[in-house]
Subunit: 336 residues, 2 copies
């Protein structure tokens, strides 16, 4: 069984029919780094791409404890009630190859994971030498081809994965806790300014007033940032995923954004630019991955990094030494 | 004369004596990409590095019209009055090889540029294939060795050069105009969150009240961001470079920051991390520069970028094609 490969038609047909089992297998294939798998996955992606439905791609981030799972469960269930099909992909920089820790067990989103109209899948992130390798972009395309019209990409708001997610979604939603200005929020600098919307969760019980105050504070803060070229001004809303309040308003904000961006052409422009930016980034990662797959090159690099960190070598000296090691003594002649 | 090269001792001795002419020539050498110049400049940098005085490295940014030149003139003159020696380096991403447009003529900082205790120099930024090539880091070291104890690195607050500057200074100062929340401020998203301090300039005449209000607004906004690991909380001050008010307070904020960072070890840690980060970035730029110095590789890359942008190829397909072109058909085997 292991040696018998399914054809690209098997995958393409299965995905287009919305078969979750085939979709899962295709995602596994896309995440493989074996040459045959890459070639097959490219045929699959090409086969389904013309069929990809227009969908809403939503990134969701927030610190642990903000209630992301509960929110996605509540939000997803609401959307399914509106006739939508939801795919939840999670990027977890702390996970290893064997699976993601965010969504390693689906018990986190108990009711959503059992719903026929929902598809939940972690995207393990690998730290390769050239940076983060991630296939969530391709997974989005596969889910769209399988009929999922609302794609949620979830990440933890503490690392560098937010920039990754921001670069692959239309709308970037930041979940916050009531109690604005609290240092405990732990949101990394710069993340607030990437948000298209801020949603203050846990706006229930005695937190309601604090949440409303936080909403005002964040509105004032966002007002200081310059407007995006799309013409969209980031919004701030409150909700309680636990009590199922504010969910409709959260969706309304995302739908408004989608409508504005579709009508003025910004959505198409954004997605094309995201593709180009991703390609450019991947060039660097791929080249570096190739060059430092060589053990000798890798050792030289690690040694030089230590010498830079200890102050023994300046970065400039280290670069010259590394370049000479990789390309020979005359390497600087080729640089203009 | 052109063929007669000065020795590294000529440069090292001249710099350590604080000779501005020799310092200028050394900077020109550091900015050269000729092999002999690179080797000589490394000897010079090594020769002066043990002598480099501890200095304050200050990055200054703000949109055109915020009054950066007037502020630096006023600020620099104040510091010289305090017995300091000031070097002003400018990073201008819009400049070309022939010189920087920010400081192309020194008439911008008329009195400072004529002061014996000040050294003003633009750093042209080249857009190489792998990204921005910049030698300001090395220029900082040379200026420090020449006895300049306060290094100002200036940039325009509209591009990607701020991240570059943030990565080479101890204190990042954002100049703003009175009238907070005004979309016309045009500061790129994320820049406010990189600032160690915000200084609202032009707080004079009928702008004074608006400046004070802006100070309150920015303080509230900064309060929402999480604290830096150094323990420093960003400050907001007002000043009028024109009327020479608030200059001492601006310096006080920078001096406080320096003291805190020195005492708790954050400054040493920051500078080491900056060196390592720069080395890692330069690895990517250098490798890409080498590979795409080849015309055939460059054409292939440009062609693929067009196809990604037009939607004809997915980024993944484009990467596979480019990798095969660069490393041959079996290239994916070497990737783990």
């Amino acid at each position: 069984m292991k040696n018998k490969r399914n054809t690209s038609s098997y995958y393409i047909d299965g995905i287009l029919e919305g078969d979750k089992f085939v979709l899962s297998k295709a995602i596994t294939l896309v995440e493989s780094s074996l040459k045959d798998d890459i070639q097959l996955s490219i045929r699959i992606l090409r086969g389904v791409s013309s069929q990809a439905k227009s969908s809403k791609r939503i990134g969701i981030t927030g610190v642990p404890g903000v209630g992301k799972s509960t929110f996605i469960e509540s939000f997803g269930t609401y959307l399914i009630g509106q006739g939508k099909k939801i795919a939840v992909l999670a990027i977890d920089p702390s996970s290893n190859l064997s699976g993601g820790s965010i969504l390693g067990d689906k018990t986190r989103m108990n009711s959503l994971s059992r719903n026929e109209q929902a598809f939940i899948r972690p995207s393990p992130t690998r730290n390769t030498l050239g940076g983060v390798t991630n296939h969530t972009r391709e997974n989005i395309l596969l889910c769209e081809a399988a009929g999922y019209d609302t794609i949620i990409v979830e990440t933890v708001g503490v690392g560098q994965s937010e920039t990754l997610v921001r670069g692959m979604v239309d709308f970037f939603l930041l979940l916050m806790l009531p109690g604005a200005g609290d240092d405990l929020q732990g949101i990394k600098k710069g993340i607030m300014e990437m948000a298209d919307g801020i949603l203050i969760n846990k706006a229930d019980g005695q937190n309601l007033q604090k949440a409303k105050q936080a909403m005002t504070d964040y509105k004032n803060a966002l007002h200081l940032f310059s407007k995006a070229s799309s013409g969209w001004s980031p919004q701030v809303k409150i909700c309680s995923a636990l009590e199922n309040t504010g969910i409709e308003q959260a969706w309304g904000m995302i739908a408004d954004h989608h409508q504005l961006m579709s009508e003025n052409g910004s959505l198409d422009k954004l997605r094309k630019e995201q593709n180009l930016a991703w390609f450019k980034e991947q060039i660097a990662h791929t080249l570096i991955g190739h060059i430092f797959a060589n053990d000798e090159n890798l050792r030289a690099r690690n040694q030089l990094e230590q010498e830079v960190l200890s102050g023994k070598l300046s970065p400039k000296e280290a670069i010259v030494q590394l370049t000479e090691q990789l390309f020979g003594q005359d390497s600087f002649k080729s640089q203009k």
